[in-house]
């Protein structure tokens, strides 16, 4: 098995773990962590498959660097929203969605 394929398979496994966490974990912090694992899986595939004959290709590395910045921004926004939700509901999970039951505040 080539190194590239090994990286790619590990990335796919991380992506799957992250996906499961994002969908199944009710706790918001766990969801946010799961998203980061999912993203890391995609980055690993990008860098792993991107190498040519064992030498690293700089282009996917630059892309992953950009991707990490994006992921940090997304994580920060997610944490800020989770914090707000905790303040508003006292819970670190998504409440049941009942828009009709909500008192109208518009």
């Amino acid at each position: 098995m080539s190194a590239a394929l090994l990286y790619a398979l590990a990335g796919a496994a991380l992506f799957a773990i992250g996906l499961a966490g994002l969908l199944l974990q009710p706790h918001l912090l766990r969801k946010i962590l799961a998203f980061n694992i999912l993203g890391s899986g995609a980055f690993l595939i990008l860098v792993g498959l991107g190498q040519r004959d064992g030498t690293a290709d700089p282009v996917p590395q630059a892309m992953v660097l950009t991707g990490i910045v994006v992921a940090i921004a997304a994580t920060a926004l997610a944490l800020a929203l989770a914090r707000q939700l905790l303040d508003l509901t006292g819970q670190m999970r998504l409440p049941e969605d009942r828009p009709d039951a909500e008192p109208v505040d518009d």
């Binding site: 998203f35 792993g48 892309m63 707000q84 939700l85 508003l88 828009p99 505040d105 518009d106």
Partner: protein, 486 residues
């Protein structure tokens, strides 16, 4: 023309600049700046469209570097149409938002910076020439949109924003995984380089990549059954935000689905996959319309109407895939026309809904009595927008549905005609549900206040544009044809 005055990069730099400036000016400031800057963006988009009509599709190398070291921007007819739509919707909405937030300050603090970033992301997305750049713009767009949903605070909007954030992040991660597989196979992310490389015998990884990217984008476009996040997010945000999100943000991901389907992954598309997209579209039309009918809150009704109208966009795929070129052209024109018509009409509808909510002090269809005498122009605009959504002549919605219908008849796929007709009737039902209430006298204990005239006239401008699109939409279709022949 010197490079410095090229409209292409300025369409991205300008909203980014005024968004940042609005943030630095302080909470709630920068509205006038935004209106002026968006007007300028509109001029730039028109200038770019003029250049395309004169000399065909364009490429711009950012900073003079050029791919693959630098980033290329690309503009063809489809991109130009979407850019025109974006500025045409944003300008009246910016005027509207100034009036709306003056009357209703909740959520005003960060509206202008976020809107600047949102428009920059939209313009950049339409001009992107490579798959990775598209990923970055998708994320920028998603983060700005989620931020806008949450700006008003409160339990329901923040919950909706959180759910929207997870949905949009999942969508773009799936897209990124697809990009990784494509890069691993071909060593490039440039659309121009990749398009000739992908053929029907492409490796399995490429088919998998195509499926992942399309799935991610469908989730972000809120196509049935991925629509769960849309109604609370669009229905819970302040009215100008709802209008921006429903009119433009979901169109951006639809634009990408269309571009990938017709260009990059065209050799991989199958009739079965196209029919599946059509079936999901049909299900969205029926399910969204029925749920819109059952809503008691006005903005939720309009939000479910978006779920339904997104369905029409996806009817173009079975009508444009592996069929004679004439029918395919007509289907694509119909789909894009629907995107433009819905963009204008839905912005008008959310704006008028916002005015009615400001006037009655609550978001409840049961308490709209008296709107007809107090806000006649607003109600008229709501009706005009409804005419476009129903697809009645002479609106842009009629042209769109006519083009889709003729493609359906030409390719012998009569079942989509049935879906469109039933969808039109259901749309009429939920529009009249609102109109009927609005023509009742003011209920006892209710008070209908007047709203600022800017609210009424900006919404009317949007609704009128959606109607005029049906009468004068032909140049838009000529513009759309640029660059697609190659």
């Amino acid at each position: 023309m010197t490079d410095f005055l090229d409209p292409l990069p300025w369409l991205i730099v300008l909203p980014l600049a005024w968004g940042t400036l609005a943030f630095l000016l302080g909470p709630g400031r920068g509205g006038r700046l935004a209106v002026a800057a968006i007007a300028l963006q509109g001029v730039l988009a028109l200038q770019l469209a003029g250049q395309l009509i004169d000399s065909g599709a364009r490429v711009y190398a950012v900073g003079g570097w050029g791919a693959s070291l630098g980033i290329d921007l690309m503009a063809d007819g489809l991109a130009a149409v979407m850019l025109l739509l974006t500025q045409a919707v944003a300008l009246p909405l910016a005027v509207y938002a100034r009036g709306y937030f003056a009357a209703h300050p909740k959520g005003r603090a960060l509206f202008w910076p976020m809107t600047g970033f949102l428009l920059a992301a939209l313009n950049a997305l339409f001009l992107s020439a490579d798959l990775f750049n598209i990923y970055v713009t998708l994320e920028l767009l998603g983060l700005a949109a989620v931020g806008l949903v949450a700006i008003a605070g409160g339990r329901q909007p923040v919950t909706a924003a959180m759910r929207y954030l997870f949905a949009t992040l999942l969508g773009s991660s799936a897209y990124l995984l697809g990009v990784a597989l494509i890069y691993g196979t071909y060593g490039s992310v440039s659309l121009v380089v990749l398009t000739p490389l992908i053929h029907s015998g492409a490796p399995l990884a490429v088919t998998l990549a195509a499926a992942l990217m399309l799935l991610g984008l469908l989730l972000k476009t809120a196509l049935f059954p991925f629509h769960f996040w849309l109604p609370p997010a669009h229905g819970g945000a302040p009215a100008p935000v709802s209008a921006l999100l429903s009119a433009l943000v979901i169109k951006a991901t639809f634009y990408l689905v269309l571009r990938l389907w017709l260009e990059l992954f065209a050799p991989l598309t199958t009739v079965a996959a196209a029919q599946l997209l059509g079936v999901l579209g049909a299900a969205a039309i029926l399910w969204g319309s029925v749920l819109a009918l059952t809503q008691s809150r006005l903005k939720m009704l309009v939000a479910y109407s978006t779920v339904a109208q997104v369905g029409y966009l996806f009817l173009l795929f079975p009508l444009a895939t592996l069929v004679p070129p004439d029918a395919a052209d007509s289907a694509v024109q119909g789909g894009v026309m629907q995107a433009v018509a819905h963009g204008l009409a839905k912005a008008a509808m959310f704006a008028t809904a916002g005015s009615m909510i400001v006037a009655t002090g609550r978001d409840d269809i049961g308490h709209l009595g008296g709107i007809d005498t107090r806000l006649p122009l607003t109600l008229f605009s709501f009706g005009l927008a409804g005419v476009t959504l129903m697809g009645l002549p002479p609106s842009g919605g009629f042209s769109a549905k006519w083009l889709l219908l003729s493609a359906a008849l030409e390719t012998g796929q009569w079942w989509w005609v049935v879906v469109m007709i039933v969808g039109g009737l259901l749309t009429a039902a939920y529009v009249f549900k609102v109109l009927r209430r609005a023509f009742l006298p003011v209920a006892e204990g209710d008070h209908v206040a007047r709203v600022p005239r800017t609210l009424e006239f900006s919404a009317f401008a949007l609704a009128l544009a959606a109607i005029l699109l049906g009468l004068f939409g032909a140049p838009l279709l000529d513009l759309l044809a640029i660059g697609r022949a190659a």
